[in-house]
Amino acid sequence: MRGIGAAGLFSPFVSLLDPRKAQAAVGSAKYLMIFHTTGTDINLWHPAGSTNSQISFSEMLEPLAPLTDSLVIIEGLDSKGTANNHAAPGGLTGVGYSSNERISLEQFVGDGLDAQGVTTPFSSLILGGESSQSQSTFYRDGQALSPLFLPSTAYNTVFGGVTPDPGNGESALDRLARRQSILDVVGDQLGALSSQLGSEERQKLELHTDSIRELEERLVLEADGGGGGGAGCSEVNDPSDSGESLHNCALLADMAATAFGCGLTRVAAIEFGHHQATQIGIPEIGPGDWHNYLHSGLSQNLINVERFVGEQFVATAQKLQSLPSPDGNGSIYDHTLMIWTRGMGDAIGHSGTDMRFVLAGGAGGYLNTTPNGRYLQGGGQAHQRVLFNCCEAMGITDFTGFGSTDANAGAREPLSSIGS
């Protein structure tokens, strides 16, 4: 066992993490912004000397300092075998490959908000990642989902998507009718094909049919004048694609914040890099391969890339701080829970026994923060409990269908010490 994990067993903060006894407090955060990366070098990450009322930043974490008074960081959590190697799916789902019912946090929260009657054109957005690699971060019904990889694609889909100005004087209702008539024909054709297939293959077309249904809902919302132009809606920066995937991710994070401001979605997740192969040509980071940084002892490069992600985390937070909340009550940041999650714990050891999170944001007052930041030791509690915290912050307290129900995975409750 590596040093930090052992120290965690004797941490004075373990007592803070007792399962919540009282009724869970429902959070009132309205937005969820997720950053996702692979695991890290836990020794380099560890903010030595931190307490539950102060963070002493390691070099790797130092870029997060501007957010100190809204920052909670936690390590020493256990994925319970669900996030302990390349492509293990537990990071955002809490379950491993033994379950076929994987759903990742952003999907579950998106569904939860839909159930609460929150109507935005996109129930969640998943962005970033590497298109040339196999996908293993975002899931629904056990199937891996592909993010929108490129800024140009995301821009066209999210902003140019259902509300382009055709420039031909066609009314919104006429356009809706024209599009729906095609979708009706497409739907009939899907039905005809589906009837010729066995159930396994039919599921493929059901996904297509669901996608059309969701599109129709967005089209109707748009024709009704909803679904865009929020109080904080601002211009999107140049969506030109870069050859550097991390630069693309930075742009996508900015775009996600803008989408919040425009009322297009309440939930976004950006995957920075890929657990297996992320080529980095950015001089101030590498050049090199993120995976090699971990396994070839390239500590400074690893610190650099983690700092880069941290800087984007802060930039995104600051963007959200600049966007007024639609209800006139503070900024969107005040109502956002930001979280930096990981697909593995100790990535050098391919281990999921020491998971860590960075949480930030006003979160509608949900986060228990201090002026000097807050550091917690997880003491081996299940990492999915922090995922439950995220749900709870968003006002979702029924976790049915999310995370592991295995008794070995620990309590199906949020950690008591994160929410205020």
Partner: protein
């Protein structure tokens, strides 16, 4: 340690190797070891290794396509999969539109995402349209429709009026191109209804083209078939389905006029005609491009141009060199394929295809041409290199680190991609950090800690001895006699095969692999996956049916097309 290879999948056709740990904890808690989440990737259609026994005629020429009792095929992949749809890949979609409009300038759009499975982008199960997919397709369809009406109206509309006869003619003719088969009357009526609802002819055409692009009959290839013979649960693929299957699998594009005419005549169910078309399509430019795509995916070298390397003075590993390396590999593979060569030839070719920049890079040949030309590869002296594909810069540089070679990456590549051996990822809780290189230590000495660490030794006993044989080639694929001031030691062994072979250097590995039957089988297995989009076909049975030791790359592909899997289906679960 650096595992450049793809996440390992316990898929049918892979060989389990003994001596390596059995994957406990290696894929989260996945009891099946399906490390990339492919819950159906190990033969969900009931396909499996060991099937495909010859139970009919051994003579492919004796097949009677009209005889339902004749299993056809020649003993490989005769297990029949479920009726299915295969979503076009992004490249296939683009190529299809280019073909329909006879113009390469069709608007571009990043619409479809092609999941990477087994190193390829052809997976039939994982390629779907979901979530925001329908919206992306709709937006793209509207863009294409606007472009087509603006630029191509005269070409796609033989008549231009709103009367019903004109509309029907357009729908039938253009629709057959999008659907890749004649439209039923019901479909024609539905499409005509869309046109008729618009005020002007141009608006009607925009509506029609937009609908065609969004149609599942455009977006998916059908492998449905129709009932045939006495067994109501068996479906024989239609001629039009066979035409599409053949064309997309072999050329990445839609069926051409010849295939559609043969389909209209009902000729493609004749296996000899089908196989005759294989030869024609493979020789086409698109067929050659498809072979190139295959070899880049098989060897996992496609992303060489974007691989980061730490610059070294005097080494000009620029964009030209990287692309020239890929072209070299493409040309050698296609040359061997086109000239009746075998996997042995892929391993032992003593010539290659170089242009000026690559010739200079290898220090082999200098000529004032950007065209790649067949060039002998010296086996000694200046510019000496190992023969065959494994001596190519593309393979050597791609399967390396940013600043050094990687015996592990290269060993893993050989085991997984050339031998189809099953190697799991490293176990949990093993510190995979290598010790920093101490002054004067070689790369080999650094990696040799694997053999002493019991957590690593099992798998690395299969990886490192193979990888060490590459050690004369640095991270750019350039020859080196010394590393860290010491002579390179490239001794090793071919392990993970029936009988291990002691080796010294990459030439000896190439020679050993040339004699290793598993290389043929592994090629056959990957080629069948590339063609079918589903795995499960036994490489061994394919090679047996394709001529055993004499099996050529081409005869293997023909066997894949002759197999029952290519032309029959059952309903499926």
């Amino acid at each position: 340690m650096n595992h450049k290879g793809r996440i390992l999948i316990a898929w049918a056709g892979m060989f389990a190797v003994s001596g390596c740990y059995s994957g406990i904890n290696s894929f989260g808690d996945d009891p099946n070891g399906l490390g990339d989440g492919l819950s159906g990737a190990d033969g969900g259609e009931g396909e499996g290794e060991g099937e495909g026994e010859t139970d009919g005629s051994d003579d492919p020429n004796s097949d009677d396509p009209n005889d339902p009792n004749d299993p056809g095929g020649v003993g490989a992949c005769n297990d029949v999969g479920a009726r299915m749809l295969r979503r076009l890949t992004s490249g296939q979609m683009r190529r299809t539109l280019q073909s329909i409009f006879a113009d390469e300038a069709v608007p571009d759009g990043q619409v479809l995402t092609d999941p990477v499975v087994h190193g390829f982008k052809v997976d039939a199960r994982e390629a779907v349209i979901r979530d925001l997919g329908a919206q992306q397709v709709m937006q793209y369809a509207e863009t294409v429709a606007a472009w087509a009406v603006d630029q191509k109206l005269g070409q796609i509309a033989p008549c231009q009026s709103m009367d019903a006869a004109c509309q029907e003619q357009i729908v039938r003719e253009l629709g057959a191109k999008f659907h890749r088969e004649p439209l039923s009357d019901t479909m024609v009526t539905a499409y005509q209804g869309l046109m008729a609802g618009q005020e002007t002819f141009e608006e009607g055409m925009r509506q029609l083209v937009s609908a065609f692009v969004q149609s599942p009959y455009f977006l998916y290839r059908r492998e449905l078939g129709e009932p045939s013979g006495d067994d109501p649960d068996r479906f024989q693929l239609t001629d039009y389905e066979l035409a599409s299957n053949l064309s997309y699998s072999l050329t990445g594009g839609p069926p051409d006029e010849t295939l559609l005419e043969l389909a209209a005549q009902g000729s493609l169910r004749d296996q000899d005609e089908l196989v005759a078309q294989v030869a024609r399509l493979v020789q086409s430019d698109d067929g050659q491009h498809s072979l190139e795509e295959f070899i880049y995916s098989w060897l996992e070298i496609e992303d060489l141009p974007s691989r980061v390397k730490v610059e070294v003075p005097g080494v000009n590993f620029d964009e030209d060199v990287r692309h020239a390396m890929l072209t070299e590999t493409s040309m050698l593979f296609r040359h061997v394929f086109n000239t009746g060569g075998t996997t042995k030839d892929l391993m032992l070719a003593d010539f290659s295809f170089l242009n000026q920049s690559l010739g200079q890079f290898y220090k082999i040949w200098e000529a004032d041409t950007e065209d790649h030309q067949s060039t002998p590869i010296p086996d000694s002296g200046e510019g000496a290199r190992a023969p065959g594909l494994l001596g190519h810069g593309s393979v050597l540089a791609r399967h390396s680190l940013v600043d050094n070679s990687s015996p592990v990456a290269r060993g893993v590549m050989v085991q997984r991609r050339i031998l189809c051996n099953d190697l799991p990822e490293p176990p949990s809780d093993v510190d995979t950090n290598l010790e920093p290189i101490s002054e004067g230590a070689t790369n080999r000495e650094r990696y040799e800690q694997h053999s002493t660490d019991p957590n690593c030794a099992g798998c690395h006993a299969l990886i490192d001895p193979v990888g060490f044989t590459f050690e004369h080639y640095d991270q750019f694929g350039l020859w080196r006699d010394e590393e860290s001031g010491q002579p390179v030691d490239a001794s090793g062994a071919l392990v993970g095969v029936e009988e291990s072979v002691d080796l010294d250097g990459l030439d000896s590995l190439a020679e050993a692999l040339a004699e290793e039957p598993r290389v043929q089988e592994c090629f056959a297995h990957f080629m069948s996956y590339y063609t079918y989009g589903v795995d499960g076909c036994s490489g061994e049975s394919l090679v047996d049916a394709a001529g055993g030791e004499q099996a050529t790359l081409m005869s293997t592909l023909e066997t894949i097309v002759r197999s029952q899997h290519f032309r029959e289906r059952v309903m499926g679960e």
